[in-house]
């Protein structure tokens, strides 16, 4: 497909749409699917067949308000409808309002002006509620592959790189390394073979940001990777997807087939001299494979174990070649940056953290779901205003960000702006975007124990501190929780935390103590309260010599 054909295709699709009366988009991401959105989608399609109305019905990516699923968005007025049954959904089709009474439909209606939707700013998730993830035409209509077309026809790789640099984008996998710096490192390598790798091994408990992007907008990730390939001089990409994400794999496979068929990917990307193809590699359920060196080992067919760095992947990565590895959300940010310019992107967010961040909000919260906000938004805004706070009038106690590598942020610090620096200063981290809300009935000891158990189960076992240290930390936490631990155990817990942080081989072990350390920092009294003073710990009698005096 040439760039001209791409535009023709877009215009053709647009013309077709203009004749349609309405467009009903039913969320077909994992959350809504699990509460029956597939039946809703079928019901909508069936209902359309019974009317004369020219209405389009599509599946679409995650609409965000997962707790109200199955969700449908009506394009004509932007209204959302939640908690739909197949029967009530059918009434959304113009001319079929007779199927249920007006009142029923009104009860399902959620205004786009509600804070949940109104306070978000969507870049990564912009196509959720706009496109059908299974149709490349939908993506093209939403200016998809426009950035790639612009890059290969009008821009040099250096210009693409400089646009990313201007954007100030930082890695969305957790650590926040400047994306352009990484790209530059790969770009300046002399090797002829280089690789682009997309890390889609999302594994933090409660996190489903990347999953939603892959399921809801797979082409966007492919386009981001292709742009990276163009900038860095690589022609092969791999997406390493978590094995549990079957739907994401299925949609990615479809997207790759479509893009190859349209010659958007392949030997001549959009009729240019640039070649790029993408293959999928499916993980087998090891959390540690989200660590970049372990991930690369896994793609190579070896045991998924991290190795020491340097050399860093940009110098020696996959199969020993320079490798650019970014997270799903990072790649998903690239097409709009190239399309609208780095300056546009850097105007969003804070001084040092640009753009938006997607969070998966879970726990004791009214609106569980997916939220995208500009960097710098306060946690309070996300939790209270957007997600509606703790249900049933409970008292909010803490918010945990960064999953098993992050930490708890107490209610008193909720005005903290969400950016890389503020979160790490508060003893947590951005992480990939999991955000778990806890109310005052949650025991922080149990939370710390839960995450330590997770790390213990997921440690690859290569280095001693992580393999054996997580076991011991978990042992102590379990004993504290059972009220069997002494003050000296708490001291040992802190010692082990330092050991793991300072001596572990990879990020998993280095950050495994974070939930414990932050819980101790802000909720120390909950630990102290559970300690028992060992009656035998000290020699309470006078010394024998003293007695004889």
């Amino acid at each position: 497909m040439t760039p001209e054909e791409l535009h023709q295709r877009r215009d053709k699709e647009r013309a077709k749409r203009s004749t349609e009366e309405d467009h009903l988009l039913c969320c077909t991401a994992a959350g809504c699917l699990s509460c029956g959105s597939e039946d809703v989608l079928h019901s909508l399609r069936d209902a359309v067949k019974t009317t004369e109305a020219n209405v389009r019905v599509s599946g679409t990516g995650c609409l965000g308000l997962c707790s109200k699923g199955p969700l449908v968005k009506r394009e004509s007025d932007g209204a959302f409808f939640g908690g739909l049954s197949p029967e009530s959904a059918a009434a959304l089709v113009p001319g079929r309002a007779d199927l249920v009474d007006r009142q029923t439909l009104a009860e399902h209606r959620i205004e786009p002006t509600t804070p949940f939707f109104a306070l978000q700013q969507r870049i990564v998730l912009e196509n959720a509620g706009r496109t059908d993830p299974e149709r490349i035409e939908d993506y093209i209509l939403a200016d998809g592959y426009e950035a790639l077309s612009k890059a290969v026809t009008e821009m040099t790789p250096e210009e693409v790189l400089s646009e990313v640099k201007k954007s100030g984008l930082r890695g969305r996998g957790g650590a926040g390394y400047p994306t352009a710096l990484k790209w530059e490192l790969v770009a300046k390598q002399a090797a002829t073979t280089k690789y682009i790798v997309c890390n889609a091994d999302e594994g933090d408990p409660g996190a489903f940001m990347d999953r939603s992007v892959l399921e809801g907008d797979p082409h966007r990730v492919l386009e981001g990777m292709a742009l990276a390939g163009y900038a860095a001089g690589a022609s092969q990409g791999y997406i390493y997807v978590r094995g549990e994400y079957a739907l994401a794999v299925q949609r990615l496979e479809k997207a790759i087939r479509q893009a190859e068929r349209e010659r958007i990917l392949g030997n001549r990307v959009l009729d240019s001299a640039f070649a790029f193809q993408v293959d999928i590699r499916v993980g087998a359920g090891a959390f540690v494979c989200g660590e970049e060196t372990a991930l690369l080992a896994s793609i190579e067919g070896r045991r998924g174990e991290p190795r020491t760095r340097p050399p860093y992947p940009p110098e020696r990565g996959l199969f020993g070649k320079p490798t650019l590895i970014n997270n799903v959300e990072t790649f998903a940010n690239i097409p709009p940056i190239i399309r609208k310019g780095g300056d546009w992107f850097s105007s969003i967010g804070t001084e040092r953290s640009k753009g938006t961040k997607v969070f998966a909000v879970a726990g004791k919260i009214v609106h569980t779901g997916l939220v995208e906000v500009p960097m710098g938004t306060s946690l309070r805004t996300i939790v209270q205003d957007i997600c509606g706070g703790v249900p049933g009038g409970g008292k909010l106690k803490a918010v945990l960000t960064g999953g098993p590598s992050g930490g708890a942020i107490p209610e008193s610090l909720l005005d903290l702006p969400v950016d890389y620096e503020s979160l790490s200063k508060a003893g947590s981290m951005m992480g990939s975007g999991g955000l778990i809300v806890m109310d005052d009935e949650t025991s922080m000891v149990d939370v710390a124990r839960y995450f330590m158990e997770f790390c213990m189960d997921e440690s690859c076992g290569k280095c001693i501190p992580c393999r054996a240290g997580t076991v011991q930390m978990h042992d102590i936490l379990a004993r504290i929780s059972r009220r069997e631990a002494e003050p000296s155990d708490l001291e040992m817990l802190a010692k082990l935390a330092t050991l793991l942080k300072e001596t572990s081989l990879c990020g998993l072990g280095q950050t495994a103590p974070n939930p414990v350390v932050s819980a101790l920092r802000y909720f120390r009294e909950e630990f102290d309260e559970k300690l028992v003073k060992h009656p035998l710990a000290e020699n309470t009698s006078r010394t024998a010599s003293e007695r004889r005096e």
Partner: protein
């Protein structure tokens, strides 16, 4: 070849570019504690005992996998490092079933020696007492999983020196296990050449010669030096 000058524990030392801190320190007479490193095998940086402080770096560096750099200032024996190392040794003792008194390697064990060297007189952590088992199916060697510390020296010597790759690691975390081929009993392995190199590089009594009794298993890994030297200097190739 470029030469790097650096300071280790106050001493000015030099090393070749690409050489590891561990080796440069070794040449300068500083022997860092280690359980996974063995000269002649690749380095994996798994045991973390050789961690050192490098001035200007917030993170500790495992000396066996850290290349020397010009102007580095390295401290190898601070109180913080000693405490970390003690705790690492305690973690190992608590993790497996290291009953020295009934072990073939008692008195000739690198783990035991390190415990003494680092001043570990008791283990402050809870012993885990895992149920692990012994593979005694091989005619000449035994593998007692209870004493394994997962340094992977055996895996590496089998792969890198013998070229058999009989041994490898399976599982993860606390259920890690050294396996033969695809998990068969050692005696049924079709790839094992029975060379015994794995036994000789094992730092503990996990791998032993069949028939060895308590304290009788003394290891000898000098073979590594001549094999690797021969390989690197190609002395076995007849010039002609």
């Amino acid at each position: 070849m470029s030469v790097k000058t650096l300071k280790i524990d106050g001493e000015m030392v030099t090393g070749r570019a690409g050489e590891t801190l561990f080796n440069v320190a070794w040449d300068a007479g500083i022997s860092l504690p280690r359980l996974c490193h063995v000269g002649g095998l690749s380095d994996v940086g798994a045991c973390r005992l050789c961690v050192v402080e490098v001035e200007g770096q917030s993170k500790l560096a495992a000396a066996c996998v850290t290349p020397v750099e010009e102007g580095m200032v390295v401290h190898t024996n601070t109180e913080r490092l000693r405490e970390h190392r003690r705790l690492l040794i305690e973690l190992l003792f608590a993790e497996g079933n290291h009953v020295c008194s009934v072990c073939v390697s008692n008195g000739h064990c690198e783990l035991q020696d390190l415990a003494v060297q680092l001043g570990v007189d008791h283990v402050r952590l809870r012993y885990q007492h895992p149920k692990r088992g012994v593979d005694a199916t091989h005619a000449r060697f035994g593998l007692d999983h209870n004493r394994c510390i997962f340094c992977t020296r055996c895996v590496r010597v089998c792969d890198e020196v013998e070229g058999a790759h009989t041994l490898d690691v399976s599982g993860r975390g606390a259920s890690l296990k050294i396996i033969c081929d695809l998990g068969e009993p050692w005696g049924q392995s079709e790839t094992c050449t029975s060379c015994g190199k794995c036994v000789q590089v094992c730092p503990t009594g996990a791998l032993y010669l069949d028939g060895a009794s308590v304290g009788e298993m003394e290891k000898n890994r000098r073979f590594l030096q001549y094999i690797v030297t021969a390989r690197e200097k190609r002395e076995w190739i007849r010039k002609g």
